[in-house]
Symmetry: C2
Subunit: 403 residues, 2 copies
């Protein structure tokens, strides 16, 4: 088989871990496979480089930031190749440029245009392992670019696609994707197989196993990949296109996002376009709004409540406050004492009653639902932050995910 | 003027020093010059990378070593460009590849084949400062190479040559080239002008201001450069082709090398070819022999004494011991209690009596001369290590270099 393996920053964090990765790669080769490897910068290196840049220039130019950050992965590819040589495994490193990761010119968030692969195919044929720098690429006029944070995942699935690999393995510091965060729900189980869509919904909720762009790319080009741990030999979670049998499972997992905040605009004049003006202003402030509830309050005035990421509260508040005079009144408040709990599963498409079951479980556990939002394969509720962990456990048990 | 400036690892050692370098560059631009800058890795970074590599693989492949080490300069060019932007000076960084430093494929010690300069000329014309990564280059098939330790000096003079720069300034942590090491001879004076040959003889002696290959390159292509400090505004030392007036100064400087060892082979059968066999063996062990004395000892047997760098003693001893049985006898010993003192000056070519003056000074100060070697512009003597500092001061005074 032709296998693309990706090792993240924690997996190549120090000299011993790089040796460990080399042994794992060699074992894969010895089992009769051709192996191309994508590596990230050593854990912490990227943050160190960013800190140094900001100390020199609070607003470093994107082009120079890319020049700087590309350094992290270039170090790791060389060290990993050396570690493979030390165990008598022929190997060679390739920068993003050498591996032909052609991107557009959008520095710090470049998009992959094409992966030529350079001579990787021949190298693999000749028995060498090829170690490719993740996260980085090159424009047609030779500028170094990076793909944005977590871009190494994207590099890996894109390389797997370009090489028509049989398998893409994303090695990380967790055993795979779980039915819930095991730190919150101790009996959470590792999921054996999950669809791209489910993975995206769970990842977006804070089960930050993998970058969403990488999953979207995989979905677009139908790249099957496995998320697994670099610290043990347990099988991981296979992420792939939905197959009919996946719908047998109604709820694949429970996600909990405790980094939400609720903003309430009360006493809003109930006239057409008021809500629209508020959301336009928030959108222009680059804040993503998640759940929204509008209701009529005292004396015909409307109340508008919505959730945003906690980090975005200052920008959102400022945007709303600026637009209120224009609308003709209203009072804005916010609270961070809120959490979002979601159940995700492609089975919801064909199974009715999931929402009812969810609401029942929460009611039985005295958890008050403040807001609700749904998509085809997801139901989310906003609840009190202090109820969050209890609710996650109850919902996980109620849908029998730990069985 | 078009000026190439080079800043070494100490000068760009941390965030504050990089800011300092940026201010210096900007001042040069504001004075009406176009400026291209060559930088080294931050002080200590290259050693850290080497240590990490050796911890992973005691004998890392040269190609991967180059991939690894090139990282150091790539970090510095980005940070330096950011520092210039922070003081509103347009600037752009260039890797060795982007600056068109074409080299041969001799990894870790590549030789420059050609410098195309890429778009550096246009960038300078448009008012930008261009920051180029020293030490690194690229082969015709896209492999990253490095020029060997201290290669950034070579990058700077080669770039100055390619750009037909009016001036090349090598910024370092000393004020220039001195008539002697000021730590040993307190009244040593900075030399205003020195010829390439004198610089080479002094550099080779341990006045390690600059790498010999860079000086040789400058000599070959007649690149005038200035060695000066990045920590003050004192004028430095101009290094250039010999002009007639330079011969007025008989002795330009005194160099002291305290890292010498003496190896003595005694009771050597006095037959043809014995010495040759010894030096062939030492040469094959890659040890450079400096001064040599042979004399006839007791009973017609010969004694052979020579000096080598202290670090090379084990290899030299092993090589000699292996070859002695073949020669038919001899006993080998070594001592590190030796120093080499040299006086250097192109004026020696036209002034007789320099050797006599040197020997007189040493005799007056009761310094015993153990060995002597001379070249056209240099006289070296091997003396007791414990006499070294006293002798250097006496010779410096005797030739009136501190006046």
């Amino acid at each position: 088989m032709l296998i693309v393996q990706k090792y993240g920053g924690t997996s190549v964090g120090d000299v011993d871990r790089i040796k460990n990765v080399a042994n794992r790669i060699k074992a894969t080769v010895d089992a009769g496979n051709r192996v191309a490897v994508v590596v990230s910068a050593r854990g912490g290196v990227t943050n160190e480089l960013v800190a140094r840049a900001k100390a020199i220039n609070p607003k470093p130019a994107d082009r120079e930031m890319d020049m700087l950050l590309a350094v992290g992965e270039q170090e790791t590819i060389a060290l990993t190749a050396m570690a493979l040589h030390a165990v008598d495994q022929p190997a060679v490193s390739r920068t993003g440029r050498q591996a032909g990761f052609r991107t557009d010119g959008a520095h710090t968030r470049a998009r992959i245009v094409e992966i030529t692969g350079g001579d990787i195919g021949q190298r693999l044929e000749s028995g060498e392992v090829v170690i490719v720098a993740g996260f980085q690429g090159i424009t047609d006029d030779g500028q170094v670019t990076t793909l944005g944070r977590g871009g190494s995942d994207l590099s890996a699935v894109a390389l797997a696609c370009a090489l028509k690999a049989d398998l893409c393995q994303i090695f990380t510091d967790v055993d795979g994707v779980y039915t819930a965060d095991p730190r919150i729900v101790p009996n959470a189980k590792k999921i054996d197989e999950i669809s791209y869509e489910e993975m995206l919904e769970l990842a977006a909720m804070g089960s930050k196993v993998m970058q969403a762009r990488a999953v979207e790319f995989s979905q677009k080009y139908n790249v099957v990949f496995e998320v697994r741990s670099s610290f043990n030999d347990n099988p991981g979670t296979i992420v792939k296109a939905e197959v009919p049998s996946m719908e047998d499972v109604v709820v694949r997992g429970v996600a909990l996002d405790q980094n939400q905040a609720k903003i309430t605009v009360s006493d809003l004049p109930d006239k057409p376009g008021a809500a629209a003006k508020i959301f336009v202003a928030i959108g222009q402030a680059n804040v993503l709004v998640d759940m929204i509830v509008q209701n009529i309050g005292r004396g015909g005035a409307a109340n508008l409540t919505f959730t945003v990421n906690k980090d975005d509260v200052p920008r959102a508040m400022e945007a709303v406050q600026k637009v209120l005079p224009e609308i003709g009144g209203g009072v804005v408040n916010h609270t961070g004492d809120i959490a979002k709990l979601s159940v995700v599963g492609v089975g919801m498409r064909s199974h009715a009653g999931v929402a009812a079951t969810l609401f029942n479980i929460l009611a039985e556990n005295s958890v008050n639902i403040q807001m609700i939002s749904t998509s085809e394969i997801k139901i989310s509720v906003a609840i009190d932050l202090e109820d969050a962990k209890k609710a996650a456990q109850a919902v996980h048990d109620g849908f029998e995910l730990g069985v």
